[in-house]
Subunit: 477 residues, 2 copies
């Protein structure tokens, strides 16, 4: 009794209509759905499970940095936005205000929580003994500007974490801002198998109110850069306006230094774009909730024995979350397609002939590579395959990034690189005028001034004047 | 160099000014703080850590019930509220609307997510194969009605989880609604050491739009009941209005059955009220983030040796999150007070004389009981003490509940019981008029009609007419 309805697979091609392909993978793999309100999304079980993996990984890492999780209110009073002028200007167009007022004052849904947290910090921080103070919260934020929804990538509401720390001096503040950025880098590279470039943002790309913004940037298959996480050295800007002061060891009042850092569910969008293919989702094993599915090949005669063996195999592989798809109203082929669509990293096929040979057929989701493994070796072979797959996926993505990166020695090369949807590295003077010229003429923007450049000087690709270093440019999400 | 400033301990008495005592424990133990906007709160690290323990416990349990976590939008369009009349009427006064509209329609911050989820379910559920569908989300909700803030107990915004499931028939729907209620009961009793009474709500106390509401109720030391969690058999009310239908095995279209269930950070309020004392927070060991603190008793001569031994002890107890308070600008007494205030379950004191005897002094937070334990036995003794403490705390709370419960055979006994701030069990006819009369005359309300009553009949305590069973009544939070 094989199900008649067809599995609704991916019909668009990754290297054909990338945008439509992306939407189909997200929807059909059950990661997310559109909401009846424009700009909002529903994160469905398979998508939320990925977010939980990211959360668990990151919570573990930041606990080692002595960061504590907290929860601050959803609503922010208008007076707080007005305190830090740059910050206010940056977020003003995106704020969603409530009809209700509190004592005559307007309230907005948080677009980020610097202001409400730092008002609280000003009461909490009194002495050098209270520092460093390191808080993080997992929540949703709302930024109304988005016009066109793109699931996980551009939505008015999104889930994120925001870290906010206070320090006695700028050295600690910057060094930890960089340490948190490095945690994002490790998260992307080690868990999500997405290589990133770390660097500093230019003035135009800086967070509203920050002294410095550090970023990690990934490069998507459609030739656009994606910002994966940022951390900000806020300097003393907010501390001054929100009065975050402390008595130092000598009993003297000092203004504190602060950083903030965030990453969001957009990482899931990157995960889809970088690794998936025309059959659907491909997940790096480390982030996949279940690492293996066992599909029994059922014939009437051998059914009972095959199912029994499949169950035994799943028990052997229980630590990998392996499960048997024993449904008998779907064909084996239908099941193969379904589990490929949702991205289970490894499939075991077990048929009557395999049982004779005391083996199962192991199939890798990323390469489609098949090989027979003895039941006795299944656990070891699965572990090895998952490890190899995680590495291979990272290196394939890394290769693509390297292949996509070009240098531009002059404006002509620069324009050509951008037009060919490359990540272009070029000398840049960091002047606002040049950055705006580039944006207008090419729609590309500076992604970052990469860390660790050797002391080099050259001529700005836009104006030809002296430049002290290079910047990456690309079109971006 | 002992710190001069005094530890700001609890100055109010639990059995004197309960309300002030509660506020002081929450604030001074660092669980939460007020926000600059009325009705909102900040959940601080020590409070949020308790919420994370609750989340972890509950996520594990509901995964066993095959519930998946998801995230639905913060905002709900007005038309959704209008669909289910009772639900709309119940939540209308509490809604916070946005100034911005979407295509002319008003949007409110979610007070609960039935409507937006069930609109989505109507698209998701097609066949009996899609059922049961079991979703849960952790989020914050906003209900504007609150006039007077009480941290964790009455705030406009609070953190909670809301479960929403869809079934083929009412039997499954009700049986799982009761299963989830039982998970709340286990959470309260086994993790938080708070005994609860399980039962069904009367018509007046029922969730807006539900067919039945099930509840667990705890009883607080100030003689007020506190609702700890509810689950609702929504019947087909929402399924009809939101069009949640499915094709049954025979290919016939059927309307689905639904339940929803929730509990919130108010559990943390109950935890504080039930167990804490005039020295501060007392935590059941299972929910305490760190189970033990080691305080070295420092004298100049033996300091090095004592600190070394304390560190060794903490390494031995690392699985309990034990840590050494090695600060030398605070006296041992100051440290005792501080860790009592924040509720670390066990304190070890290690002084030079203890080292001679190869022992530490173990002090229980709940009883203050002290005893010497050999270093070699410390791990075993700590485990034993924590287990005993968890049990003792539950039984003390259980004893208080039993002591506070009285039966009332007539109106006079009923009024007296309520006046004496008891939990009063009395025959009740379940008529709305009677329930309203009781509310008006005593300010008490029906807390629940307890499960498992033997078939008994009597006369309603309010009207004297025939009653088929008893209900619990009390003043309530």
């Amino acid at each position: 009794m094989v199900e008649k309805e067809q599995l609704e697979g991916i019909t668009a091609k990754k290297w054909g209509d990338f945008s439509e392909w992306y939407n189909q993978v997200v929807l059909k793999a059950g990661l997310a759905d559109y909401s009846p309100i424009k700009g909002f999304m529903v994160v469905l079980p398979r998508g939320y499970a990925l977010w939980e993996k990211i959360q668990k990984h990151f919570d573990f890492e930041i606990a080692r940095h002595k960061v504590s999780n907290v929860y601050y209110p959803l609503l922010i009073p208008e007076r707080f936005f007005k305190k830090e002028a740059e910050h206010a200007a940056g977020f003003a167009p995106e704020l969603a205000w409530l009809e209700k007022k509190e004592e005559g004052e307007r309230l907005a849904i948080r677009p980020t929580s610097e202001t409400i947290m730092y008002d609280s910090f000003s009461k909490m921080v009194r002495s050098w003994r209270d520092l460093p103070l390191r808080f993080n919260q997992w929540c949703s934020v709302l930024r109304w500007e988005v016009k066109q929804t793109k699931l996980f990538l551009r939505t008015r509401e999104f889930l994120w974490q925001e870290g906010h720390c206070v320090y006695e001096n700028e050295a600690d503040c910057v060094s930890e801002a960089l340490a948190f950025l490095n945690e994002y880098k490790k998260l992307c590279e080690e868990l999500l198998a997405i290589p990133v470039i770390a660097g500093e943002k230019t003035v135009l790309e800086r967070f509203a109110g920050a002294k410095q913004t550090f970023t990690i940037e990934a490069f998507m298959p459609d030739g656009k850069a994606l910002q994966m996480g940022t951390s900000h050295n806020l300097g003393q800007n907010f501390a001054k306006t929100f009065n975050v002061k402390f008595l130092d060891k000598g009993g003297k009042e000092q203004t504190a230094w602060q950083n903030s850092w965030g990453m969001s569910t957009r990482l899931i969008g990157a995960l889809v774009m970088v690794h998936s293919d025309d059959k659907g989702l491909v997940l790096p094993p480390k982030v996949a909730p279940a690492k293996a599915v066992i599909v029994p090949i059922l014939f009437e005669k051998s059914k009972k024995e095959v199912l029994k063996k499949a169950m035994e195999l799943s028990e052997q592989l229980v630590e990998f979350g392996a499960f048997v798809d024993a449904r008998d109203n779907y064909s084996a082929g239908w099941k193969f397609n379904e589990w490929e669509l949702v991205g289970v990293p490894v499939r075991f096929e077990v048929g009557p002939k395999d049982i004779e040979k005391k083996q199962a057929v192991l199939v890798r989701r990323d390469t489609g590579e098949k090989r027979a493994v003895k039941f006795l070796d299944a656990k070891k072979e699965l572990a090895k395959t998952l490890e190899q797959m995680q590495k291979d996926m990272y290196f394939r993505a890394k290769k693509f990034l390297e292949k996509s990166t070009v240098g531009a020695k002059n404006w002509q090369e620069f324009e050509q690189g951008i037009e060919e949807r490359k990540l272009v590295l070029a000398f840049f003077c960091e002047k606002k005028d040049c950055e705006e010229k580039i944006r207008q003429k090419t729609t590309a923007s500076s992604r970052c001034i990469p860390f660790g450049q050797k002391n080099a000087a050259g001529k700005c690709v836009a104006c030809g004047q002296a430049a002290n270093g290079k910047s990456f440019f690309a079109k971006a999400y």
